[in-house]
Symmetry: C2
Amino acid sequence: MTASREAILETVSAYVRLVADGTTDELMDLFAEGATVEDPIGSEVRTTRAAIREFYATLEGLEQTAELSVVKIADGQAAFLFELVTHIGETAYTIAPIDVMTFNEDGKITSMRAFWSDADAHIGSKSA
Amino acid sequence: MTASREAILETVSAYVRLVADGTTDELMDLFAEGATVEDPIGSEVRTTRAAIREFYATLEGLEQTAELSVVKIADGQAAFLFELVTHIGETAYTIAPIDVMTFNEDGKITSMRAFWSDADAHIGSKSA
């Protein structure tokens, strides 16, 4: 059974919100056992819960805002565009990845692959 | 060797332009030998040149416009958002998929997977 569109949309919305200002524990709750994370595409795929936790732990405590722009859902999978802004001092670092996710029947993430590169990143002053 | 960012961007741009108003032959030229197409996600994967040609041949002759909105490229792969509008009489059918592609070292498409569903489609009058 594939996850419903509604369940996937709920998980994706929660993911974007929690990447910005959630705890690592809250983010990990969105992932199924055995999930994998490749962020960005081309980096080593994280295949253990410890490796995934290590990745998201680096975000905890940062001053961030995120916004979900576009979500496409089909057959228990999703691709979505979102913008993540990290504020460090007076500088705002913006990345806007397209993430591709698969889900189990409960709407938990079974894989995440993030399409972005340094060429897409934007660095601006806080007033920008 | 992975395709350069520039080569991938060129192929993606050509793809979106040709989906709208190219010939099937022109579109097929963008695909590597052995390429696969899954459009939409969840449909049977087309694994032969004949099956891929059959898919794109249905677009030939339609009155269509397309616009590439967002492209993310990493490690010889791309995810991109575009809008395709098909005009049939006074009615405009709009879909805005997120396509995920892999490329060979020459920038030819080795796989295409299109994320969209009927829930994303929009039907409007020509004046809309």
